[in-house]
Symmetry: C2
Subunit: 185 residues, 2 copies
């Protein structure tokens, strides 16, 4: 890892990055160049972790994702809202989104698509299945990283109508939920 | 509808209730009685709206959901956090969760499982497919309702470790995103 503040986290805890439903970046690499898309249609499917994303041929990244069967899920925070919207409203077909939006590639360990240095967290993922009938791509997270130097930790939730909700306060119900939490989480 | 403040919303906007990733209740009916489960593993799949949820035989509600092929997605707000946790940590096998947690059934129009009166919003859904390999149940929303009398509108996002994030402030990027929004949203 080229980025000192990005620390590896236990892969068994990586689902907690996606479970709250933040809008995310997905990076891909088609063998020549890397690209980024913004996605809100994601779902945790297992603690191991397994994730689903809904995407299809209407996204330029889909070809690279399904050919290489690799991607990185990068989790932006509220200070990156204009990058989130910008990445989501132009196409990698004619735009180098890393350059255009001032985002920095960091090479991971297990997959070719890059981590994004400016993001709070990154998860290296392998495509383990594609449910074509429903445009669902099933991912397994193989390594996860958290930028421990970041003060801003509030993620964004896309409403889908052009507005976003920012993380507010946290409530702790760990004790009540103890029986339902996987070991070590 | 027995509940005056619960107003029908355009079904084409119902995906905006789930897109931000709130923890939700799912109600089911097995032909004799209704039940509720708490779920965080949901995903929007289309604007029409189509939703995915991840569930399986380990949830008591799964038998009723797959037999009746109907459910209601009910969206609680922060004031209902103890009901969210309570419903999620006991089983309908031996508990009437409506009674135990003071939640009120309201009969919808298209499906037998009830809406929950105390929730901010409710979506009547039909099961349109089950992807058994991945424990994904695919739902189509057929009617959606919003309680317009409610002052508390902040939803909850489960982190998956026993903590929850409450909705904070809203940011508007409608103008930048206009090209990507479906008509009328």
């Amino acid at each position: 890892m080229e980025h000192a503040a990005m620390k590896k986290m236990q892969i068994s805890k990586a689902f907690t990055l996606l479970e709250p439903g933040p809008v995310v970046f997905i990076t891909t690499n088609d063998g020549e160049k890397s690209n980024i898309m913004t996605i809100s249609w994601t779902m945790v499917m297992d603690f191991t972790p397994i994730f689903a994303i809904t995407t299809g041929p209407w996204n330029y990244s889909y070809a690279a994702l399904t050919k290489s069967r690799e991607c990185v899920i990068a989790i932006p925070t509220v200070d990156l809202i204009d990058q989130v919207v910008g990445v989501g409203t132009c196409s990698g077909a004619d735009t180098d989104k890393f350059e255009k939006f001032g985002l920095t590639s960091v090479q991971g360990e297990y997959v070719r698509p890059p981590l994004i240095k400016e993001c709070l967290a990154n998860i290296e993922c392998k495509v383990i299945d594609i449910v074509k009938k429903h445009n669902i791509v099933v991912l397994e997270g193989v390594a996860a990283y958290l930028d421990i130097s970041r003060k801003e930790k509030r993620t964004l939730h896309a409403v889908g109508n052009g507005t976003f909700v920012v993380d507010g306060r946290k409530l702790d119900r760990r004790q009540m939920m103890r029986s339902k939490l996987p070991d070590g989480v």
